[in-house]
């Protein structure tokens, strides 16, 4: 028989062979991370979606309101950009839940969960991919900022530390969206509910203006918003100032979110 005869090829491809040794949990996680990279490569639109709005805001607020809010567009940009960066990364974290839910509703997760792999690997790998998305989104936002005149006093180190803190913060926040992705019925619902949470969270904060200019009740509400503290911390780091309390609050929030929602998400995942 011919080696390239279709039947022979089929028989040979199907022929049973020794099972490879089971890979480590870390290898499983990295493989799912690789999947996330491939998805970013094949569907770069998902990145533009989340980066597009903040960039539009940057232009709009800087040039329309910058003069009124801070005396000059340039002065306002120095204030705004770290806030926009936070907003960008926070909005990117929605994709954690949406893409997880898409996998589940399409049936992809059934395949993963029937494989002899480390059980949390699909979740952990997706989070690895999220970190990459956060970094890419930050990079785009910062480049746009630099192009229109943003000059961080904190230099490269300050910017990197700021982005690092944001990534950690978004990781903590991401647990809520992971949980939503696990329990909600459709990706569209996850998206809508996430936006309902994120709009007040990012706007009722110090991203765009100094809360001191707000009415008293709102100023109080803004103070209780964790986004306010991470923006303060990032603004500080990128401006070359280490704001200890704000950094502490941001990290404490991340730890609290992980401690509360991590286990709940793990239970929801195991029960599916």
């Amino acid at each position: 028989m011919n080696r390239h005869d279709p039947d022979t090829m089929l028989a040979r491809a199907i022929a049973r062979r020794a099972r490879p040794p089971r890979p480590s949990a870390a290898s499983n996680v990295l493989t799912f991370g690789w999947r996330a990279v491939l998805k970013i490569r094949h569907v770069p639109e998902q990145l533009f979606d989340v980066v597009g709005t903040p960039i539009m805001f940057t232009f709009m607020f800087t040039f329309l309101f910058g003069g009124a809010l801070a005396g000059s567009p340039d002065a306002y940009l120095q204030f705004l950009l770290p806030g926009i960066l936070a907003q960008t990364v926070i909005f990117t974290s929605v994709y954690t839940g949406v893409s997880l839910n898409t996998d589940i509703s399409k049936g992809m997760f059934d395949r993963f969960r029937s494989l002899p792999i480390w059980r949390p690997a699909p979740l952990a790998g997706a989070m690895l991919g999220d970190v990459l998305r956060y970094c890419l989104a930050s990079l785009v936002t910062i480049l746009v900022g630099l192009a229109i005149g943003y000059r961080p006093d904190g230099g490269v180190v300050g910017v990197v530390l700021g982005v690092g803190l944001l990534v950690v913060f978004a990781f903590g926040l991401g647990w809520i969206f992971t949980l939503m992705g696990l329990v909600m019925r459709t990706p569209a619902t996850v998206m809508t509910v996430s936006m309902l949470i994120l709009f007040p969270l990012t706007f009722a904060s110090n991203v765009f203006v100094d809360p001191a200019t707000m009415p008293g009740w709102l100023e109080t509400a803004v103070w209780f918003n964790p986004v306010t503290h991470v923006v303060t911390a990032v603004r500080g780091l990128m401006g070359g100032v280490v704001d200890g309390p704000a950094i502490f609050v941001s990290l404490a929030f991340t730890v609290a979110m992980t401690a509360v929602f991590g286990p709940i998400a793990a239970i929801a995942y195991a029960r599916r």
Binding site: P6, D7, M9, L10, A11, R12, A13, I14, A15, R16, R17, R19, P20, P21, R22, P23, S27, N28, T31, F32, W34, R35, L38, K39, H42, V43, K106, G107, M108, D110, R111, R113, S114, L115, P116, I117, A121
Partner: protein, 321 residues
């Protein structure tokens, strides 16, 4: 090697008010193809998902390749592979990337995973589409990449959930060839289907499942014998002739007409070929010319009718994604 690849007793599953599976028993011989046949909503997918450790049964127990699904799900997962009814590969990725991904997850090195992917793509007639995103694939290609993804590392037991629903005959034959090749190589295949013909073609034994219960079980031959059906399909020139023919067959031969979608056609249960032959000549003699006839297998609807005395509970004619 265990003698029974699947041994299930009294499996039950409820979703809220829906009692999806109510006491299913299955015994699947290792090295055979087993067919689970049933209409939409019968509980086929739910049963498979329980056996594949994706759903916890509310009651009952099962051993898959000798491992208890509740006590040792890890061992079950190491022995099986599941091709779900719907998307079970990533549509955003290319066919090749999907196979490499699974190879890596199952422990192949990068080189080994790529080699294996290319080998499967070639064998499954997908080489040309290897670097295209799966979302651009046709239905038949989709099904083949789904199955290829399930055998990157050949499993001892493969679950195939409705592998050919919605496929054209050529694609369906390709899937059948793959199933046959797998079993020749010693694997066990448990497949669900809505088509009696498919179960008949592939499966050593068949379980007919309706409303979450097994209502008949056996080899294709015993099943058909127990149903007592060989069906005579007759086509006439006009619906009016078919109507008169139905009356004549009922009166003279006691042959009951079965539901048929085509008004100019008629299907009757005819126990043996002698009865069928004399029925056809009688019709001709009465001037009701038979355009064409086939003496063959009952459709799933007809089997259901024979088994339950009513048409399939929820036979929606749709291919819901």
């Amino acid at each position: 090697m265990v003698e029974l690849a699947v041994e299930a007793r009294g499996l039950e599953k409820r979703f809220g008010a829906t009692h999806a599976v109510r006491g299913v028993d299955l015994s699947v011989r290792t090295g055979s193809v087993y067919g689970v046949l049933g209409p939409n909503g019968a509980g086929k997918t739910t049963t498979l998902r329980m056996l594949a450790t994706l759903l916890r049964p509310d009651a009952g127990e099962a051993r898959v390749m000798g491992h208890d699904i509740a006590k040792d799900p890890e061992a079950v997962r190491a022995a099986i592979s599941l091709t779900g009814q719907f998307a079970s590969v990533d549509e955003d990725l290319t066919g090749r990337e999907n196979l490499v991904l699974l190879g890596r997850l199952l422990g192949l090195g990068w080189g080994g995973a790529r080699e294996r992917a290319d080998e499967l793509l070639a064998a499954f007639d997908l080489s040309e589409a290897a670097v295209k995103q799966v979302k651009t694939y046709s239905g038949g290609m989709r099904r083949r990449i789904d199955i290829a993804a399930s055998i990157v590392v050949t499993p001892e037991l493969l679950f195939l959930d409705e592998p050919t629903t919605g496929l054209d005959p050529r694609s369906r034959n390709q899937v059948w060839d793959i199933v046959r090749a797998l079993v020749r190589d010693g694997a066990t295949v448990l497949l669900t289907t809505q088509y009696l013909e498919e179960a008949d073609q592939l499966a050593e034994r068949i379980a007919v499942i309706d409303r979450g219960q097994v209502i008949a079980e056996g080899t294709s031959a015993t099943l058909k014998a127990s149903i007592g059906v060989r069906v005579l399909h007759l086509a006439f020139e006009a619906p009016e002739i078919a109507g008169r023919a139905a009356v004549l067959l009922a009166d003279k031969f006691g042959l009951e007409a079965l539901p048929d979608a085509d008004p100019a056609a008629l299907s009757v249960q005819a126990g043996d070929s002698a009865v069928a032959a004399s029925a056809i000549s009688a019709l001709d003699a009465e001037g009701m010319a038979v355009m064409s006839f086939a003496f063959g297998q009952p459709s799933l609807d007809e089997v259901f009718l024979a088994l339950t005395g009513r048409p399939p509970a929820d036979a929606k004619d749709e291919d819901t994604p």
